[in-house]
Amino acid sequence: MSTEISRTSLNLEPAALDEIKHLISNRAIEGETVLLNMGPQHPATHGVLRLLLELDGEVVVNCIPDIGFLHTGIEKNMEAKTYVQAEVMTDRLDYLNNIGNNLVYCLAIEKLTDLDVPPRAQAIRVILTELQRISSHLVWLGTHCLDLGAMSLFLYTFREREFILDIFEMVSGQRMMTTYLRPGGLWRDIPVEFEGTVREFTGLLPRRIQQYDDLLEKNRLFLERTKGIGVLSTEDALSWGVTGPMARASGVDHDLRKSIPYSGYELYEFIVPTHTDGDTYARYLVRMEELRQSLRIVEQALDKLPLGPVRSNNRKYVPPPRSELSTSMEAVIHHFKLWTEGFSPPKGSVYVGVESPRGELGCFIESDGGPKPYRVHMRTPSFTNLQILPLLAKGHLVADLIALIGTVDIVLGDIDR
């Protein structure tokens, strides 16, 4: 195994140029157009994305994304851990959607082991996932506008995001990597202050969203940099497998929360915003409407929040509550078995997809009947959505490329895993 640092991955040596010869035009080889390296350290690539650009003046002729600078080996590492231990890894995949990652992994395990989740736990899962969606869209809005030169939006959206992080910290003790959802339910019940704090937030945010709209919707600079930029047609969106707000802005009416409801999403009323223009501005509108719809879901879930346990009673897969340990020998045995060896689901494979802020987030788990997952594959939305960047960027200016990277809403941890 080569543990040495690979020195050649950055520089365009002749061998490396040979590898990508079929992706660039002949004009680049003749020297008519310029090959320009963008990234991996670049303020507008949202992480460690590297783009190799072929430029004719300022116009992008070809754009070749080079990913893998954040390849963490999460899938391989999960195979070496028990099912519960491996959940810690999922947090760090898409680091703006930690709870969504936990959710898809837990749903996959629950499908694999046929576990039932109590309604209270499901409602809390919905509240937290929607809050996470809001926080992710806030980061997207802030950084996207920062790239386009509207710095103040970044300061405002991060102010609101702190509120959500405080809520997460209140329920789990951590701001980002919560691992609060567990197979079969939640880690523990929410604290008493939870409902009041979330209601305070849902009361505050609509005014703030209006404020963002006021700042941007009549802003000529913003409109000129987003309208008509990077138009994605419905056919292209389908054949490239684009999901999430990207697809919905191109007229694909598809949301897994509606079509295959999980965690009790069928109980809540919300609309799936779509748009037909398919340009950067349409994607902005869709995401802003999603913020409002997420707030609606959070409010409904809070209104309907049922009482009851937050963990399944199936002791084969879910550890007993702490209070039982001092009274029941059986509970001690279950606890010991679950925390030393872990549980062993039956042999088989499942695939579960949920709607993350970026699109379809899927988890494929294959079990061989042992206490460790045999193979986990995370189907991540940014990975498929980034593939259309060359298609979108062709023929646009380099400055528009910055807007396009922002509008795809990539998270590099999500792409490289």
Partner: protein, 160 residues
């Protein structure tokens, strides 16, 4: 430096050269704008209004390594990223410092596998390690203030 007390109304200050240089260095540190993974989001939060790193004179992030003197390694460094990181470090002008933010950068945290550098100190020399996964913005600010203290205490005889 306590300039105010010594200043009087003469307009003249006497101080040690060492103090003056260190004061200049730690009061105007430009961090490199380089976010790698999860910690970068917390680094952005530290810049944002709630925590506001500009209270410590750290608000100006430079996107070019040639204009910066502090590298905050915010996130896990893979074997593919390591040569890039080293090249960025070599492009920074002296004097330069490295702050390793988070468990992944310091010792690769929960990931012990083929893809990650087991600690970024194998690639660049690190001055301050900040623990946490990810560290809270307060922890990052504490790390930065610790680095400031370190730079203030540097001896002229060590490097001149």
């Amino acid at each position: 430096m306590g300039v105010e007390q010594k200043l009087g109304n003469l307009g003249v200050v006497t101080t040690k050269l060492e103090d003056l240089i260190n004061w200049g260095r730690y009061r105007s540190m430009y961090p490199l704008l380089m976010g790698i993974a999860c910690c970068a989001i917390e680094m952005m939060a530290a810049q944002a209004p709630h925590y506001d790193m500009s209270r410590f004179g750290m608000e100006l992030m430079r996107a070019s390594p040639r204009q910066s003197d502090l590298m905050i390694v915010a996130g896990r460094v893979t074997r593919k990223m390591a040569p890039v990181l080293r090249q960025l470090y070599e492009q920074m002008p002296d004097p330069k410092w490295v702050l390793s933010m988070g468990d992944c950068a310091s010792c690769s945290g929960v990931f012990n596998n083929y893809a990650l550098m087991q600690g970024v100190d194998e690639v660049v020399p690190v001055d301050v390690y900040v623990a946490g996964c990810p560290p809270r913005p307060e922890a990052l600010i504490h790390g930065v203030v610790t680095l400031h203290e370190m730079v203030r205490g540097e001896k002229l005889t060590d490097w001149a």
